[in-house]
Symmetry: C2
Subunit: 646 residues, 2 copies
């Protein structure tokens, strides 16, 4: 058993992702730890740890010396940080950090009721209202995140204290919803995927059963939240008026009958991740089919080219098919993280490189753009077009900031990025029976001695430069491995060599993977060369925002034009139809190391009037593009992914 496959077996290299792993370890996690402890001057108070302290005090003494502070789901910030810290510890032991984690875990334990119940909001503020407002109160959401932390901490450090705490809470939840038959299901899905992890970590069937329970009852009883409100009329937000929005809540129909990705985008993909994982572990075909339909709907009708999802600030949600506005996108960083979770499970469920293509797209673009290059500031919202003077200012653009702000009152995205980036091995590598899959090309060394009798090391350059080098090193006599390398949709061809010799004849191509069966007696080098042309991307003409426009992509990276490289003005630029695009040398000093693109295009001068009868004067110009993930690292300036093509 065990949920995490590689976390302790993968040693990340110093490449592109190594820099990020180090940032997470050295900057992001320490900053967040300070935030959780309210040690950051000028930032909004978190009060997370303090909430646990008060809950523990109340359980110990019956009294509480302060008041709960923060979001109703404030506990989850501690959980996500602990999960990220656990991954970090697995990669780089740090006794002091581990000690602090252990202390927090003891504090969490002290805030747990005798019956297993754990939630500081309810313990401190609403002790009589447990389980009476599933729609809003995020109890199951916080539980889910803490379960994930518990699984991670147990598997990364071998210490089971938090796991025991969360098993007790999960047992309590099982009693309430399954044994005692309480109605309802999570307002914010998350616990489904967490319970599947807990099941794999502990081997206990009841956790899988509880996950399935929440999945199965959802939307079968689509009026539950309204009934719940009638029975216990209280609100976390102060305005629980009217009937609840069934699209927002993903409960308009039983999950197996849902065909469109709707509502709050993070909730949606967390739910689908749990569904896919449950389908994987149970072989439930109807559930798997629903996941495929929803995944298709997202990726073919509702996803930005950056792998971001959620077209509207209102409800932080999906909207309608083909509605993908660039400047007002919500495109929450957490939603891209959740889409990666979903794709990762789909990849196990239905082995096809397209799931990894989307996972990679979301990772290199929608997720990475969420974090400043120095790891110190974050975007929640990742628009595809930034318009200083409008973005962050117009009523319709208040959410779409043109530069990353400091810490948020609702601190969901930064720790979500941290836990993802510090556990990339779980997404990069899969094993399925006798096959080892290389999905994402993350530098480092994977120890598969147990599975295949040796190690595989992967070396790349910034992000790939089209060339991957895998080194297989048997521990004993030989390594016998069916090795599958994902061939990304963006690649214009692939050439594989084994110790320098072409291996095309031994390679089987299937569903986006190149399969190579090898028995390596001695260290063996497998090199993979992808053709890596700059691609112009076009959008289905049903997407009104992108008609007549193109975007540039190279390898996994979507590019954008920023004012900083283009005389301050990207709105007057257009790409030349059929024009060439060239790639710069690697620029180690620029934006932590990038390659720029230079595209043939035009700059139009439209004069000073708002409207004119004069055709704009158009001059040939070269447009400079930088990787989308690096945008907004040079102060306030215009940014555009989709550029008119003329």
């Amino acid at each position: 058993m065990g949920d995490l496959k590689w976390i302790k077996k993968f040693k990340m290299g110093d490449g592109f992702w190594g820099r990020y792993a180090k940032l997470v370890r050295d900057v992001v996690l320490p900053y967040q730890e300070d935030a959780l402890n309210d040690r950051i001057e000028g930032a909004e108070k978190s009060h997370c740890i303090e909430n646990f302290r008060m809950a523990a005090e109340k359980l110990r003494t019956g009294k509480c010396s302060g008041e709960f502070y923060g979001m109703v789901f404030q506990d989850s910030d501690v959980a996500k940080w602990l999960e990220g810290a656990a991954y970090s510890l697995a990669q780089k032991p740090d006794a002091a950090l581990e000690k602090r984690c252990d202390e927090i875990i003891e504090l969490i334990g002290a805030a747990q009721h005798e019956d297993g119940y754990l939630n500081t909001y309810f313990t401190v503020k609403e002790p009589d209202k447990r389980w009476t407002n599933l729609q809003e109160a995020h109890e199951l959401y916080c539980e889910g995140h803490m379960i994930e932390a518990a699984v991670a901490y147990a598997e990364c450090t071998g210490k089971t204290r938090l796991l025991d705490i969360m098993c007790a809470m999960a047992d309590h939840t099982y009693r309430h919803f399954v044994e005692e038959g309480a109605e309802g299901y999570p307002g914010h899905p998350e616990i489904e995927l967490a319970l599947m992890r807990l099941y794999r970590c502990t081997g206990q069937e009841k956790y899988k059963e509880l996950a399935l329970h929440f999945i199965n009852v959802r939307g079968v009883d689509s009026d539950y939240y309204d009934r719940e409100k009638q029975r216990h009329d209280w609100s976390v937000w102060g305005n629980r008026s009217g009937s609840h929005d069934k699209e927002y809540a993903q409960n308009a129909a039983p999950v197996r009958m849902q065909t469109k990705a709707v509502g709050h985008a993070v909730r949606a993909v967390y739910l689908y991740t749990g569904m896919a994982d449950a389908a994987l572990e149970t072989g439930d075909e109807s559930l798997a089919q629903a996941c495929k339909v929803l995944w298709e709907n997202i990726t073919q009708c509702r996803m930005y080219v950056t792998g971001s999802i959620g077209s509207a600030y209102e409800g932080e949600s999906f909207t309608k098919d083909y509605h993908l506005p660039g400047d007002t996108a919500y495109a929450e960083t957490c939603a891209s993280v959740g889409l990666i979770f979903f794709c990762n499970k789909m990849l196990y469920l239905d082995r096809n490189g397209r799931y990894a293509d989307v996972m990679e797209r979301a990772l290199y673009n929608g997720v990475l753009a969420g974090m400043q290059l120095d790891g110190r500031r974050f975007f929640y919202v990742n628009p595809l077009e930034a318009l200083p003077g409008i973005s962050g200012e117009a009523q319709t653009h208040r959410h779409a900031l043109p530069v990353r702000p400091k810490w948020f009152a609702c601190a969901c995205c930064p720790p979500n990025v941290a836990r993802l980036l510090s556990s990339l091995s779980e997404y990069a590598w899969h094993r399925d029976g006798g096959t080892l899959y290389s999905n994402l090309f993350v530098d480092g060394t994977l120890d598969v001695s147990e599975e295949f009798g040796g190690t595989v090391a992967l070396e790349t350059a910034y992000p790939y430069e089209g060339r991957l080098t895998y080194r297989f090193t048997p521990k004993g006599e030989s390594m016998d491995v069916r090795f599958a390398i994902r061939v990304p949709a963006w690649s214009g061809g692939v050439e594989i060599r084994v110790n320098g010799a072409p291996a095309q004849q031994e390679v089987e191509s299937k569903d986006g993977y190149a399969y190579l069966h090898g028995t390596f007696l001695a260290p063996t080098e497998v090199t993979v060369e992808f053709a890596m042309p700059v691609r112009k991307l076009y959008t289905n003409s049903k997407v009104a925002a992108n008609t007549g426009k193109a975007a540039l992509e190279r390898g996994p990276l979507i590019y954008c034009a920023e004012g900083a490289d283009n005389g301050g003005d990207v709105l007057s630029l257009s790409l030349k139809r059929g024009g060439t695009v060239t790639v710069s040398d690697y620029l180690p000093e620029k934006l932590c190391g990038i390659r720029e693109l230079y595209a043939q295009g035009y700059r139009s001068e439209t004069g000073g009037a708002l409207y004119s009868y004069e055709e704009p004067v158009r001059r040939e110009d070269t447009i400079t593009f930088v990787p989308y993930y690096t945008w907004a690292n040079r102060g306030l300036n215009q940014m555009r992914v989709w550029i008119p093509e003329q």
Copy 2:
């Protein structure tokens, strides 16, 4: 004195605007009258008249048999309808209609307090709260509209009963705010422009003084609403929380220091209209200058090409310079009506054809599109792009309906259109000293016997076809008139003939007008030929939504492409750079009579995938355009004004 210059002197012809005048008379006003009286099945109740009945009952008996119903500004619906009815009576007497109007006016009088105060919301529902919530409660707004109705009814019918009622209310208001020195100014500006009309109608200086008072105190004390709230904490909408939004309320600075058109667009242009009118009547240069700056800001940074204003549903408001999204525009019909009011006053203040150009743009496009061709349904919101499946459905597009709905609970726009279209003469013709101005080309006969000793008749074809024929007919010996014809910015040249002979040498061109001095001894025909090419319009590249796009215009009409004429799909269409556009014959059967445009362009096929590396297959195609004001008269279909040009 007198406010209305031409209403009784202009007899509208049967042309383009004659059809609309007839629609207003035969369909719009009767429908609205039924609505005000709650006689329309299936429509939201208005209760307007009933509110007056209850207020009158309460004043008579001290008791009330029902409850106030509707918006806090429900009274204004009666006022706007009465104003429209007055204009209609001036053009076509109708004894039965006039009798019904008189009855309503008697009812209004019966709802007036002894001290002159009149407002059914306060009389029926909040008798103790008069003047305590200027921010929200629309008392001065309702008063303003009823003053406008009173002026119109007096000048159109000669009956002064309503005028007396409203003078008493205005006197009451003057006492309260000027003599007794009560603080504050209107939450929804409107009374300023109305008081200027009342001043001109009655000649009483105090009404001008009161208008100036409200204009002058606005924003000088920009915290008034917050103080008002502290003193009398009650809310019409139930959520008067936090400080008020000073941009929304146009009170962040004294009006003379305001340089950007901000906040609720209708409120803004009503305010500016009152300011311009006050500047006109007082010669206040600083006020005139502020109006010019605000007008420039609107028309050069914040106006749609259709003459619509208000880029956001949130606050029904202006947003930021160059933010002009097409599909999510608010572009309220009433705001275009208000912009016409503003332009009309600016034209008196600063004689320049550009104000009439914008007035015409708003009239033929932003306003007319607000009404279905049969006069039975209305848009509040006039987007420049409609996307069935998204428009009216996505969270961000709920306001932007793709087809016109029936009557609204908030019924502001339909009567606003009715009163404008039934008083077009006031905008079409101006007289300034010895000069008669023809601003808008509305078929009909103007009696200027008093001013110039004869009549002028104007004949055009749909809308103009580039040819105007003015017939001057002296009543006595001769007509001596300096005649100024606006030369629209869209015209490619103008040729003027007097009785068939070229008159170019006698014509003086200045600031968008062609001035012709004539002494006509016998009936004289002045013909004007405008070159009327189809124009491609381009937007300043600062407007992100329109980069790389063009729109088509011919004469005063903006055109759009609708799915109905283009195989159901306009999103895959692009205009050909440098391509030709041809004009159809006049099509009398289509959309109540139009000319279509046929533009060379392309249709792109982008395949089924959301994103593709394939350059879209592009085939030459002819794009059919219809006038924007006719859109959404053929059921649900795509519509687009701005089309990519390639």
